[in-house]
Symmetry: C2
Subunit: 325 residues, 2 copies
């Protein structure tokens, strides 16, 4: 007896299977092979309509973001992503929505060579929970707890774009026509920095992805590592789209320091590997910028024009709290 959700099954089971998936969708559980000499890396993230994305977000963007934020956790660990389970709660059985959702999810999954290996669809308010799995060679995972005094602090890409798009969506500012598309894409379709994460295995002493805000996430590193950090606001890389929309420091500073959702990586490089790392960065053409360094004084301090910025909100304090392993 076909159900309204056979459409999802159909989209996902028609794809080719990874060689390490012994049995995928269709039994009580999946049967999987973790490669020898590798550790399994696993994480879960839920997106709830109205909390993590506006209710009117397209099914394509919801699917993209739901998987991308999970892939981003794999990037932050230096893991090679492999499989995921999907639990989706839906208010109704809108086949057009489901088709668009599943096609977008499938496309992104193919792009990263990750396979859906189990799922559960339930009836209720829209929310999507993905548990993602990846691998690292034993002992090579990037964690938050090994930053050391004098390490350099880096971020990938540019910071604040997603927060600016969210602020505009919330009616706090207007965006120039020529940057709306770029900025909304940064909010709705973040790019998981998987390749950078794999590269960082050889260099970084700690790593996290920026989901809660630069300061809040860097604080996760400093607290886990029992150190502090000092960063220069002027060194934080901003996109030309961000800069062309915002020049007022009073607006720029909180978006850059406390806005989340960029899903760039924030990581630390041991001081004596710094030059080697900078050279390797150029060869591999990764986009990463040194914004400060780890110090012994606890907490994260940020300087602008040689003055310490008083940091009001360290990350958006929403109701949610990830207590991710």
């Amino acid at each position: 007896m076909p159900s309204e959700f056979d459409i999802i099954r159909q989209y996902f089971t028609s794809k080719e299977s990874r060689a390490d998936v012994v049995l995928g969708i269709g039994d009580d559980a999946a049967i999987l092979n973790v490669p020898e000499h590798h550790e399994l890396i696993q994480s879960v993230d839920t997106l709830v309509a109205g909390i993590h994305f506006p209710g009117e977000t397209s099914p394509e963007d919801i699917a993209y973001k739901a998987l991308a934020v999970n892939l981003s956790d794999m990037a932050a660990m230096g893991a090679d992503p492999a499989w995921f389970t999907l639990a989706i709660t839906l208010p109704n059985d809108d086949e057009v929505w489901l088709k668009a959702f599943s096609e977008s999810l499938s496309l992104l999954a193919q792009q990263y060579n990750v396979q859906l290996i189990g799922g559960d669809t339930t009836h209720g308010s829209l929310s999507i929970t993905i548990t993602i799995n990846g691998f690292v060679p034993v002992g090579k995972a990037l964690t938050r707890n090994k930053a050391q005094v004098n390490d350099k602090v880096y971020v990938s890409g540019t910071i604040g774009d997603a927060a600016l798009a969210l602020a505009a969506w919330q009616g706090q500012c207007l965006l120039r026509d020529d940057s709306v598309s770029y900025l909304n894409k940064r909010l709705n379709c973040p790019t998981a920095q998987i390749e950078l994460g794999l590269f960082l295995r050889e260099y970084a002493s700690s790593c996290i992805d920026i989901s809660d805000g630069l300061i809040a996430d860097l604080q996760h590193i400093t607290e886990s590592s029992h150190v502090g950090a000092k960063i220069d606001f002027e060194k934080i890389p901003l996109s030309k789209e961000f800069c062309s929309n915002l020049t007022d420091e009073a607006l720029v500073v909180p978006l850059v320091l406390s806005g989340g959702d960029d899903y760039e990586l924030c990581f630390t490089i041991v001081a004596d590997k710094h030059v080697e790392f900078e050279n390797a960065l150029k060869v591999r053409e990764f986009n990463a910028t040194c914004i400060g360094e780890i110090e012994s004084l606890n907490g994260v301090r940020c300087f602008l024009n040689n003055q310490e910025i008083e940091i009001q909100a360290t990350g958006y304090q929403h109701f949610d709290d990830e207590f991710k392993g």
Copy 2:
């Protein structure tokens, strides 16, 4: 800055860690070791308030059932459960509720030696998604697709208890005072048949857990295995509590055949292992009953007084659909 959910973190991170958990809660992902020569078994199940349990169910029972139904998937695969992630969406930050929920979850987790290795708490309508992980020696997982003609069909425990409790809760019948407690426990706190699942690795040709109803779940086996099955209604084991409440065949038959939520195992034993299996069952003191056999004719047929029962509803056709891997 402590959040209302630190209470969950506190309850779960204070427990001892399994040796195969390299890094648990507190980073972007967990780091885990799958034992050599074993496959990873993974499954996801969501419980939504008002769909999978009445809104007034106690937090203790919700937590118990959320983990138990996932453990049951491990039992159905013959897997040894190890770790789980928890994604919980909550309407508010009721600490008393959270404490009761997390303590109950923790107790059951300890009982089965499974460890929470990641989580995400979000704000919205109450729902709980657990992704569970377990192991089997390579090639030893129990699946749905290897039942063969002449195999014997078995069920563990007794069937229909949970469906009777649900029917009473829905006002369809009244329960005798002396069986209310037993029957509600069968509905709210199902026992995952982990030990039986491990034992069945050496004997069963196929296995499933009974969540949708005996006929519906046996049909999953027969369809996956491209066979059929014939069962005798009189052989289906019923509890004395079930029998003392219901004697009217018109009520008994649909509850036993189509009621779900028992989380007993339904499995098949190859004909020539049948006697050996029966002897081993007695030694190990597992409670399992032969109710019929696999035949070549497709579909599942059930006989009562030598007459084929017309099976109206093959499992409760709710909105939900597990497309589990």
